[in-house]
């Protein structure tokens, strides 16, 4: 009875589709406005009178978006690779070793889950300034790697404790050292968490605004969110141009999302973002 498609389910279906259509109106506008000329007389919600792709070319050039996309890509990818490697290596002894230092080190990392990064913001900014990293993408990479350690190690160590130790024992019986055991046996076993962490980090780092605003402002180097912030400041009322710039900026992550929707959603649903 309750497995059938009843009229109640039909009503719910119609309601949910309507709600979702209203929900995605901003996304529709983003595409719609970026595809029209600035003098298009059609109301914002209506389709363009004539579709043009000129806005994209102009936004790309005047917003220096190519450079920003490359910077964002470098920061997101290098940070993510380092986060995954550092956290995976660290979690191995922290989850497996019974020594006292490893237990307390683990708790030390977990304490970072409670701290908002704003507490460290000002002193870290001054340190970056003093060692000359301001204006360089390396300051962002360093920041991302450090701030993401607690959550990443927490996920890896939790996962590792549910993995039976027999594989590792077999490897070490065969004479493999800790490094070989980790790299050939343990790290491949942790692949599901590695995937989740990679996706969460790529998206969150790509979207981060506050830290690059702080570390890169005034330099020629910008990441995407800061570039569109500056771009908007310049072309405030030229919405078709602004929206073309926004669409270029969100396209890489949206593409990743639509291709890997299941993985992205379950990754986020695993609870904590940090």
């Amino acid at each position: 009875m309750h497995h059938k498609y009843t009229w109640r389910v039909g009503v719910l279906e119609v309601v949910m589709i309507l709600v979702t259509l209203i929900y995605v109106v901003p996304l529709y506008l983003l595409v719609n406005v970026s595809l029209r000329a600035s003098n298009d007389p059609a109301p914002a919600l209506a389709l363009p009178t004539r579709i043009t792709f000129d806005n994209f070319a102009e936004a790309w050039e005047r917003g220096n978006l190519g450079n920003a996309l490359v910077n964002s890509g470098v920061v997101a990818i290098v940070s993510t690779v380092l986060i995954v490697l550092f956290a995976a290596f660290a979690s191995y002894p922290l989850a497996r070793s019974l020594r006292r230092w490893s237990k307390w080190t683990y708790y030390g990392f977990l304490a970072g889950l409670l701290l908002p990064f704003q507490l460290a913001t000002i002193p870290l900014y001054l340190t970056m300034r003093d060692i000359g990293l301001l204006g360089s993408v390396w300051s962002l990479i360093l920041f991302n790697v450090g701030t993401q350690m607690p959550f990443s190690i927490f996920l890896y160590a939790g996962f590792l404790r549910s993995v039976p130790i027999e594989y590792e024992e077999a490897a070490s019986m065969d004479g493999a050292g800790p490094f070989a055991t980790f790299w050939r046996v343990v790290f491949p076993l942790m692949r599901p968490i590695t995937g989740t962490l990679a996706i969460l980090n790529l998206i969150n780092i790509w979207n981060d605004f506050f830290t690059p605003l702080l570390y890169l402002s005034g330099s020629g180097q910008q990441t995407v969110p800061v570039a569109i912030y500056a771009f908007f400041g310049q072309f405030t009322t030229e919405w078709n141009l602004v929206f073309a710039g926004l669409l270029i900026s969100v396209a890489p992550v949206l593409l990743l999302y639509f291709v890997l929707q299941r993985t992205v959603i379950t990754g986020f649903a695993s609870g904590l973002k940090g």
């Binding site: 406005v33 002894p93 000002i122 969100v250 990743l256 973002k273």
Partner: protein, 310 residues
């Protein structure tokens, strides 16, 4: 090699050193595995956080050689200056409003797409999409929508509303506009966490409730809601902490205006330290934020522990 060969039991307090299983095992380099992570973590999080607490009791401007100790003056100033006091309470208000709205909507949408409707998979993907978009970009999209000559005003006028307000330019309305944008962006996030929680709802109890003739409302409150408690806790914590830390949406929608009416803790911090060079004062604002976040995290930790019967 030595520790690795030991059992996979959880770490025990004061466990003795693992016995080498093989005679040729040597001193282990396992601490080397932790070193890169620990260095990055200490450099970026631990040491600057300690410095931040130290900085909050000085009046340092980030440049002069002397750091003058001023005790709790910076904190007194936060609570005695009407503007920063207002910003602190406004941030708490944003956090509460966003949390309530985002979770109610997120739960309703989760129940909707967890039903037997045919479009449920497509709808999930669309409703979650705003979560992955750069907040700066969503904010500008909403700035366009809420502008005095934008589509929202046009729709209101079409429905006969005379003189629709300038949402972002009105010092009473702007904060609500910011809440709307935040809720729109992150409701999909709450939804997927509730969806994951709904997988844990006991199906046999649901079947039994049909046989007993319980209605959907009764079924929701007696079976579904209790099973959602952990998801609810995680959602509440994520949205409260996200609300307390809000910066991007405020900075790009209103820049704290009009007339400072939408300044929050994070924008205060940014302005004090990076516009006016008051690093000591900015650090004190950060300490207040950290205390608020830690209280919420502590409550969440205790609640989860109780719900999971640990």
């Amino acid at each position: 090699m030595t520790q690795v060969a030991q059992p996979a039991t959880p770490l025990k307090a004061g466990a003795p050193n693992a016995k080498p299983r093989r005679a040729r095992a040597k001193a282990s380099p396992l601490w080397l595995f932790v070193l890169p992570a620990a260095l990055a973590y200490v450099f970026v999080v631990v040491w600057p956080s300690i410095q931040g607490i130290g900085l909050s009791v000085t009046s340092w401007d980030g440049l002069s050689a002397v750091r003058e100790f001023v005790g709790l003056d910076n904190f007194v100033r936060i609570f005695s200056d009407p503007q920063s006091f207002a910003a602190t309470w406004r941030t708490v208000l944003i956090a509460v409003v966003v949390t309530v709205a985002q979770n109610v909507l997120g739960l309703l949408l989760a129940l909707g797409v967890n039903s037997r409707i045919k479009s449920r998979f497509v709808l999930r993907v669309l409703l979650f999409a705003p979560v992955v978009i750069i907040p700066v970009a969503t904010s500008y999209t909403w700035r366009f929508m809420l502008a005095p000559n934008g589509p929202v005003v046009a729709v209101l006028q079409a429905f006969g509303v005379e003189n629709p307000p300038d949402f972002l330019g009105d010092s009473k309305l702007a904060i609500w506009a910011i809440c709307v944008v935040m809720v729109w962006q992150f409701t999909g996030y709450s939804m997927v966490i509730f969806l994951a929680g709904l997988q844990g709802v006991p199906q046999d109890a649901i079947e039994a409730s049909y046989i007993d003739g319980a209605g959907p409302v009764r079924r929701f409150f007696s079976i579904v809601l209790p099973a959602l408690a952990p998801a609810m806790t995680i959602n509440l914590m994520l949205s409260i902490i996200g609300g307390l830390r809000v910066f991007d949406q405020v900075w790009t929608l209103t820049n704290g205006g009009p007339g400072n009416s939408t300044m929050t803790i994070s924008t205060q911090l940014y302005q004090a330290a990076f516009r006016f060079g008051e690093f000591g004062y900015g650090a004190a604002i950060a300490v207040i934020l950290a205390i608020l976040v830690m209280i919420i995290s502590g409550i969440q930790y205790l609640a989860l522990r109780r719900q999971r019967g640990l």
